[in-house]
Symmetry: C2
Subunit: 216 residues, 2 copies
């Protein structure tokens, strides 16, 4: 059965998945990029952007797992771009250039309708205006039995967690504090929602955590 997964989602020791003050120059917010150091050197990440080489090992295994059997993605609008409010025009086409690293349908949550956007390499951005459950249904249909990966950001993951719609998350906890930004855990009672940490693997760069929805 098709599952909804969060994969390779980096956060700080104090629970921040992005820094404050996101902007076009700073899409992950101030300090947010430091959370992702663990993945930048991996073979999987380099390959995603057409580069050779890179590290293999545990960090790369986790990164790679995040792309296995993914038939569709869901993104919060802020992960798609810095534009807020109604789309002024159709010029913004994501952070990733003409050939985004998805290669499957991507469902972008937004309050503002927009025509689907076909990119090179098989990525099609669909803009969903009727909420997270609708986006999940559409993504599962599009995935044709494969899984759906929820890319983020923090606010979107929190909505899906509150609705108990996420099956499993792989979080990568970096050994640093951000102090402010978007907090994944604040006022979210994961045990009450039925989530538990089922696996923990530390590498020199990061602590990998698997957080899985428990049967009820």
């Amino acid at each position: 059965m098709s599952k909804l997964y969060v994969r390779s989602f980096s956060l700080s020791l104090d629970g921040f998945g992005a820094g404050p003050d996101q902007s076009i120059d700073d899409p992950l917010g101030k300090g947010g990029m430091t959370l992702h150091q663990w993945v930048l050197g991996t073979q999987t990440f380099r390959k995603m952007f057409g580069r050779d080489g890179g590290e293999t090992g545990i960090d790369d295994d986790f990164a790679k797992r995040g792309f296995e059997n993914v038939g569709a993605w869901i993104l919060g609008r802020n992960m798609f771009g810095p534009v807020r409010g109604p789309w002024p025009d159709e010029s913004w086409k994501g952070w990733w250039g003409d050939n985004p690293p998805y290669h499957v349908p991507v469902f972008v949550l937004t309050h503002h309708a927009r025509a689907p956007l076909a990119m090179d390499g098989g990525t099609i951005f669909h803009f969903v205006t009727d909420g997270i459950e609708s986006a999940l249904r559409k993504a599962k249909d599009a995935a044709k039995g494969r899984d759906v990966r929820l890319g983020g950001g923090v606010a979107t993951i929190r909505q899906y967690l509150r609705a108990r719609l996420i099956d499993e998350m792989h979080l990568a906890m970096a050994p640093l504090f951000l102090g402010k930004g978007e907090n994944l855990f604040a006022d979210l009672d994961l045990p009450a929602l039925g989530y538990a940490c089922t696996e923990r693997v530390s590498t020199p760069a990061v602590t990998h955590l698997i957080v899985a929805k428990q049967a009820r």
Copy 2:
């Protein structure tokens, strides 16, 4: 120079150092005891309560380090006991019986004055009513050049962090979520206060973090 240390302070992945609903039967709050599994089997912890045996290794090394060169302790009142408001009488003498595992002067922060309380084994509880800075001065005097260990709880550590009075913390992050209780990190900007994670060591039980005040 005498330093102020937090040592072996356990917390959950979502930052809770104690569970909700603390009571005389549940001094660490609901679920709070699960945070401390890593230390219960160590040689250091068993020895503290007069028992033989126990595990050695990394967890025990961290536990042991917490008792080295400690000349005085500071405790928040809730760590001393469940009594709230004025002391009804002097019958409450801490959670630890006649011979508490401190064996040095212990400064208990409270709003309600009380005479010092000498226990077996060298522990003397002093009740400090004029604030955290005064407690630290008194503890440093009493420690005679050795260090001061701040035992907790969460609210007390947060006060000392906000005042930048803690030199270093050893946190033990257990691989579980509590979802509610007393959060060490909430609305506390550790980088802005000058704190950084300087060391991280994972064991099967827990992730040990050293959080140190940086020179300014």
